[in-house]
Point group: C2
């Protein structure tokens, strides 16, 4: 029987693994020395062409393990048979943390994303939060864009620079937190982002591009703030909203 400590360490490790696929993507990932790689997966039906040669030589140079699979097995790993082109790569997101850890933190300013679907927006949010004055992002697995090449591109190399707290749904995290200011961003709120008083533990919840924050999550917020706007403009791009909060000092 496996030792439970070892099992839990392994589990934690595998929760940080993100699988990407497609030849250009795999080449880009292999070329980026800042990205830690767990394993390279190749279909044994791949014919050796320029791209495959490049992939294998980059993997060799970096000393990365290569595993060969039947075409179907490779597709089960990539979860996208149509676009994997017979290659997939596991990257290790060391900045990934379990959102259950949040309640043990003494102080934090976090951004929680509720259903952000657009990968470019997610990438921009990560980039702004990494550069800004935020301690991390809470990213639910359900209803959010997945980390993908588009997200990585839009994050401009900042993906693994700040903690990303993963969870299944946002409400399971928020309902567990005590002594925490949980701000709903809402155009109807009376207070504005210019009025926010610093608090030891704060989370700013941003909703989906079109539908805003879901009802379940809204109920768990204990304050709300708006971004006051001119000229009758109703809303900003969600990545812009996130950035304004990230750079509030």
């Amino acid at each position: 029987m496996q030792d439970s400590k070892e099992y839990l360490d392994k589990k934690a490790y595998f929760e940080k693994i993100i699988t990407l696929y497609g030849r250009n993507v795999v080449i880009e990932v292999l070329q980026d020395e800042t990205i830690e790689i767990h394993k390279l997966h190749m279909s044994n039906s791949n014919k050796t062409d320029g791209a495959v040669e490049t992939i294998l030589s980059l993997a060799k140079k970096r000393g990365i393990a290569v595993t060969y699979h039947e075409k179907n097995a490779l597709s089960r790993i990539s979860k996208n048979a149509k676009q994997d082109q017979g290659v997939a790569i596991d990257i290790v997101a060391n900045s990934y943390k379990n959102a259950k850890e949040i309640k043990n933190l003494k102080s934090f300013k976090l951004l929680a994303l509720d259903g952000i679907q657009n990968p470019q927006n997610l990438g921009m949010i990560i980039r702004s939060c990494a550069g800004g004055y935020v301690d991390g992002i809470v990213l639910p697995k359900k209803s959010s864009a997945k980390i993908s090449p588009l997200v990585i591109k839009a994050s401009a190399g900042t993906l693994f620079k700040l903690p990303i707290y993963y969870c299944n749904t946002l409400d399971e995290v928020l309902k567990d937190l005590e002594d925490t200011k949980i701000y709903l961003l809402s155009s109807h709120a009376k207070s504005s982002i210019y009025d926010v008083q610093k608090s030891d533990r704060s989370i700013f919840v941003l909703g989906n591009e079109s539908d805003g924050v879901s009802k379940e999550v809204e109920k768990l917020c204990n304050d709300s703030i708006s971004i006051p706007m001119n000229r009758g403009v109703e809303s900003l791009n969600v990545a812009v909203t996130a950035s304004l909060i990230a750079f509030m000092k």
Copy 2:
């Protein structure tokens, strides 16, 4: 001989006209009542199908003049024979102003864009500036993205809400301005956006996504500021940078 006042009025009117093309775009524009339309152009080689019928009935409903052209003439209007699909539409950008007017303004806070090429970024910048605390955008015709359907989409209906000062090049505008703080956004600057003192006349110059501000324009700036960043992040998306400045109070 034409009266010069009338001629100049006409010239000013036509400088505000933006021509868009393609069937879906034209339908979207016609459906948006906030967009003033000068004229609809149709190729007389168009076969009457669902899209053409929709376009003509929307134009009729709004009382918009329709002009028919030979296919080649239509392409000269759209300037994109491959994608115009035999339809083009002139929209009136009433928010467009000649940048020569700036020097006559008593006070202003403007954002000047030097070579922003990405239409989504341009649209987001317009949206944030329209909602934010900025009096307008200075947009050079040379080296910038043109107003296009992608820009309009990213601006989320805010395109004509704030003045856009057009010019050929940015340096011809900046070199004419006296008593104006012209800020270069630069990661090397000692002062930061958090230190900016309000001044009566200020312009914030933002550069191209990859190359930054051009040398000619940089020379005309008389101050520089940075956005201080954490975790070794080198830069933000240019639309995010613009938004942070737009929402500085």
